[in-house]
């Protein structure tokens, strides 16, 4: 028998205190029944004797301290899952939002998941060709990686994410591919951009969407990414699919978390975000990966907009410490009208070294990648010097580096959102650009590769 309590003591912001409860446990989910019959969901944050402090997932409007009833369900928040989820749209709490019927659940999964045993992880090392040179050539994505896009307000991260979702494939073979998309507090237009792009390319049939828009309750956002990841885990590890998870925008998620933390009057860490933000983000990001003996994988591309384009802001900073690299978009390049405006130098893929090379991409990949990075860095320095002192102040070699940097941005980085380059194209383009420099400068490339790949004629 589930007891109903009419002992709500207080409601403040996203928190509610319920008195004289019995047998309620930590992290348990509850339902609040309003006088008008509608039901809201909540979660136990703290249980102290017979007092339960709960966090609402929805708005508190309409809750009446005397009349509203609370029931605790004895389980944590669960998502009903089945293979029929593909092609469907859900709201931020996992209810169908496309007018379709409820999911006939094959099983119900706890949205919090469990930590993955590091000894059961399989190391991600399968190259994913995204068709974007600045990613494939320099910051290579591999299956099972979590690689966020650090963006800023007004930058075209959505275009890049959609391009990656559309073009990604693994060399040598078709596979069982799915996209899980979570909109966390973004605008209708942005969500619509993704939906229509998926529809245009037909990917919609292989996509599960969880949509929490800017107008939806902010507190619901704490559950939305976990819903998406639970669906992804089901598809990847029980249905053997290769799942690409796109979470946008993590900044909104962290703000919802801050709201709850502030309401609880917790001692804040940096910029008012709770001290456990790192751990909280990690429990989401770490759900990406591969498992030994399982066919499927979860590759994750979280998108976050950096407040004031500041990489040291707690959200990008802590994300960068958890994820396996980052793709950074730059406002400066965006102003130069480079598409996509990927700032390759501070961007990084930590897992690239295991995903490239002979048998995966091409034997010269690692060498040319390092050479391009080094040459572009030196070229940019030379250009900086040139703006201060004029071209005459540069040595002959540095002039060539400056020329290289320009060509690199114009041709390698700037490719547009519709061009799909194979890895061969990307590598050959890299070589073509390197011919701007004297051969002797290519210290990071093995002589035999220079011999073999230096463009003839």
């Amino acid at each position: 028998m589930i007891k109903e309590y009419k002992t709500i003591q207080e409601v403040a912001g996203p928190l509610m205190l319920v008195r004289r409860v019995e047998g309620v446990t930590f992290n348990e989910i509850g339902e609040i029944q309003l006088q008008n019959g509608s039901v809201r969901r909540c979660r136990v944050l703290e249980i102290n004797g017979s007092d339960a402090l709960v966090q609402l997932f929805e708005s508190s409007a309409g809750i009446n301290l005397a009349e509203s009833k609370v029931r605790f369900l004895g389980r944590s928040l669960e998502l009903p899952v089945s293979g029929d989820m593909l092609g469907r749209v859900f709201d931020g709490l996992g209810h169908p939002a496309d007018g379709g019927p409820d999911i006939l659940a094959e099983k119900k999964m706890d949205i919090n998941g469990l930590p993955m045993n590091p000894a059961a992880r399989d190391y991600p090392n399968e190259f994913i060709q995204t068709g974007v040179s600045s990613v494939d050539g320099l910051n290579t994505l591999v299956r099972g990686q979590k690689l966020p896009i650090f963006s800023g307000s007004g930058l075209p991260h959505a275009d890049l994410a959609a391009q990656i979702a559309r073009q990604s494939r693994v060399l040598g073979g078709e596979s069982n591919f799915a996209v899980v998309f979570a909109a966390i507090g973004i605008t209708f237009e942005e969500a619509e951009f993704f939906t229509s792009d998926f529809r245009r390319t037909g990917a919609i049939d292989r996509t599960v969407m969880f949509i929490n828009l800017a107008s939806d309750p902010a507190i619901e956002r704490i559950a939305t990414p976990r819903m998406a990841l639970t669906a992804a885990e089901y598809l990847a590890f029980e249905k053997d699919m290769h799942v690409l998870v796109i979470l946008t925008d993590i900044t909104n998620y962290a703000e919802a978390l801050r709201e709850v933390s502030a309401a609880r009057k917790e001692v804040p860490g940096r910029r008012g975000y709770p001290g456990y933000l790192y751990t909280d983000l990690a429990t989401m990001y770490e759900r990406a990966g591969r498992r030994i003996g399982k066919e499927g994988s979860i590759t994750m591309i979280p998108i976050l907009s950096m407040p004031e384009d500041d990489k040291t802001h707690p959200i990008p900073d802590l994300t960068g410490y958890i994820t396996e690299g980052q793709i950074i978009l730059s406002r400066e390049l965006y102003r130069k009208n480079l598409q996509p405006p990927v700032d390759v130098l501070p961007s990084l893929s930590r897992l690239k070294d295991k995903g490239i090379g002979k048998g995966k991409t091409r034997e010269d990949h690692a060498n040319t990648m390092n050479q391009l990075f080094a040459a572009y860095a030196r070229g940019k320095e030379a250009k900086e010097l040139m703006t201060i002192l004029g071209e005459a102040a540069l040595t002959e070699v540095d002039k060539l580096y400056a020329k290289f940097a320009d060509a690199f941005e114009r041709r390698y980085v700037n490719q547009g959102y519709n061009e799909n380059r194979t890895i061969e194209d990307t590598l050959n383009l890299g070589w073509e650009l390197l011919t701007i420099l004297p051969k002797g400068e290519l210290k990071r490339i093995k002589p035999e590769f220079i011999e073999k790949y230096w463009p003839k004629g």
């Binding site: 047998g23 930590f26 249980i47 993955m116 000894a119 001290g275 990075f373």
Partner: protein, 585 residues
């Protein structure tokens, strides 16, 4: 037996535990989750629970085990991967699959496995704590010494070589309090450092095969070091390099609140890599502690202590041990989280006021010591290296500051170097090693007598370069004299051809001391010859375009068996080319 009254995340408050001691391990709830008492008020105890607390509520039972959090020490530690409270992850996988379930109870070391014990002490010997009774060949590269446990002293009554598991007595010791059977395992509470006779100043370098470290900022065996750096600057890769190539007997690698895939990487890679000294797989000398960022936060706090206690045990055998902790910032965050839940008054940035003292206690457990034993002749060392992840790369934050006050070596990673793909991105201007003077004796004697002189010269060139660079930024390269231009070029060679090291290269990942010395000497020789040529009025361009320079640039990747011949040949060619320049007029 107590009852829960409050649950708030990993913190549980229980009453009815008046009999329990501070820091006792308790079992919480039906699932018997593992926790530790961290505060007592009357009969109310605050317990930090090392597992996820979902589903716990008031009324659930809390039972004290009466013992503090301890680790089990004995043969079987090596090659194992543990979580933060020494539960073997492979065994957990066997019990509950790919994810980590709750309340799993598995023995830290295999209790059934038979080991071949070879007695080295004999019946009748008088022994005391720390004395070696015999040995077990634990892995091909490691001989495990079985020591008399603490609190046992007397005469050996019987001791027999043979095949035993870790719970069977291998010897009986007659003590003042009666006969004591000694097994091959012992237990030790993690929050208490294992005793030793006395500390001695560290004066032997821990060679790591990393040029930037060994030549520029060396660390001593028994020393302490920190690697701070923003994300993406290569902390983890540097730590992995240390774990791979350091010339120690045992490496304890603690993945504390970091990525799961990094631990997987170590697990996959170490069995394949060969120790350059013994030729055996590196895994045969490694113990791993993995409490990744998605695993419960309280166990993260414990993982550091678990790791260093295991390391101390090996040190007590007379081994050189390295503890590598990635990252101490995550450990500090775990402290902060528990402190917040305890509603303690926060210090800086929400960290507890005792952050610095806890940090100091951890690092102070490192050192080079005479270990406990009858003859007092056995020396062991414990080197501690911790990564620090300062938010936004800003070193003024409390964890970095607390660390810098203790450690003696500071390898400052620099994101601007990382962007340029200068790896390892150790900034040569900000880093320091306080062991430099203490180690120069050993290095000059064992590698080459010019070792420290060369190091100082290289360092001077780099510092001069930084000064000249400011001038270049203001008025351009042309304004420099040919001599200064040469300094800029030589410094560039030091940076690119010496300091940069490819951690993923087959040859370059590990560089022997001799090789490091010769490579540096070659670059400095170029500088000397070029300087002399300039003195004689030769053109700067001729000097800079000497053909041998390109060979120096590729000298890093010459295979290990050929480098001596190749380096000698480069030197010959360089001298010949300079002679040519000087002859031409």
């Amino acid at each position: 037996m107590g009852r829960i009254v409050k649950v708030s995340g990993p913190l549980v408050i229980a009453e009815g535990l008046a009999d329990a001691n501070m820091f006792d391990v308790v079992r919480v709830g039906e699932q018997r989750l593992i926790g530790e008492i961290i505060e007592m008020r009357g009969d109310r105890a605050s317990v930090q629970v090392y597992e996820e607390t979902s589903g716990l509520g008031p009324g659930a039972a809390v039972e004290s085990t009466g013992a503090p959090l301890s680790v089990m020490l004995g043969p079987g530690l090596i090659e194992t991967i543990y979580d933060g409270i020494q539960r073997p992850l492979e065994a957990i996988k066997a019990v509950c699959g790919e994810t980590i379930g709750r309340g799993v109870e598995v023995a830290p070391i295999d209790l059934e496995k038979k080991w071949e014990f070879k007695a080295t002490a004999a019946g009748g010997d008088a022994v005391k704590a720390g004395d070696i009774l015999g040995t077990v060949r634990e892995t091909v590269s490691f001989l495990h010494k079985i020591m008399v446990p603490h609190g046992v002293e007397g005469k050996i009554k019987s001791i027999h070589s043979g095949s035993y598991n870790v719970t069977e007595p291998v010897a009986v010791i007659e003590t003042a309090g009666g006969d004591v059977g000694v097994t091959m395992h012992q237990k030790w509470p993690v929050r208490v450092g294992r005793p030793y006779l006395r500390k001695i100043p560290p004066n032997v370098p821990m060679l790591t095969g990393q040029r930037n470290i060994d030549t520029m900022f060396p660390i001593a065996k028994g020393g302490t070091a920190a690697i701070p750096g923003p994300f993406g600057s290569g902390k983890t890769v540097t730590q992995h390099q240390l774990a791979k190539w350091s010339d120690v007997d045992i490496v304890v690698y603690i993945g504390c609140g970091e990525r799961g895939n990094e631990m997987t990487d170590v697990l996959r890679e170490f069995p394949e890599l060969k120790d350059p000294r013994s030729g055996e797989p590196l895994m045969k000398r490694t113990v791993l502690i993995a409490n990744t960022s998605d695993m419960p936060v309280a166990a993260r706090e414990a993982s550091i202590y678990t790791g260093i206690t295991i390391a101390e045990y090996f040190r007590d055998m007379g081994c050189d041990v390295a503890v590598i902790a990635d990252s101490t910032s995550r450990w500090a965050e775990a402290l902060r989280e528990m402190s917040g839940r305890l509603e303690e008054m926060p210090g800086e940035e929400g960290y507890p006021a005792y952050l610095a003292s806890r940090m100091a206690q951890f690092y102070e457990r490192a050192g080079r010591v005479y270990t406990l034993c009858s003859d007092g002749e056995r020396i062991g060392s414990l080197t501690a290296v911790g990564a620090v992840s300062p938010p936004g790369g800003d070193l003024s934050e409390p964890v970095s500051q607390a660390t810098m006050r203790i450690v003696k070596v500071f390898w400052a990673l620099d994101s601007s170097l990382a962007y340029r793909r200068h790896f390892p991105a150790i900034n040569w201007l900000n880093s320091y090693s306080l062991y430099l003077d203490r180690l120069s004796g050993w290095l000059n004697e064992n590698v080459d007598k010019r070792y420290s002189a060369n190091r100082s010269e290289a360092m001077n060139l780099l510092q001069t370069e930084a000064e000249l660079d400011e001038i270049v930024r203001l008025v351009g390269m042309d304004s420099l004299s040919p001599g200064d231009r040469l300094i800029m070029e030589t410094a560039r060679m030091i940076r690119e051809d010496f300091l940069q090291q490819d951690s993923f290269g087959d040859v370059d990942a590990y560089s022997s001391s001799d090789r490091q010395f010769k490579l540096m000497a070659m670059i400095l020789l170029y500088h000397e010859l070029a300087g002399a040529a300039l003195q004689k009025g030769r053109a700067l361009n001729d000097v800079l375009n000497v053909g041998a320079r390109e060979r120096i640039a590729r000298a890093k990747s010459v295979p290990a068996d050929k480098y001596q011949a190749e380096y000698a040949d480069i030197e010959r060619e360089m001298r010949a080319q300079f002679a040519e320049i000087e002859e031409a007029t």
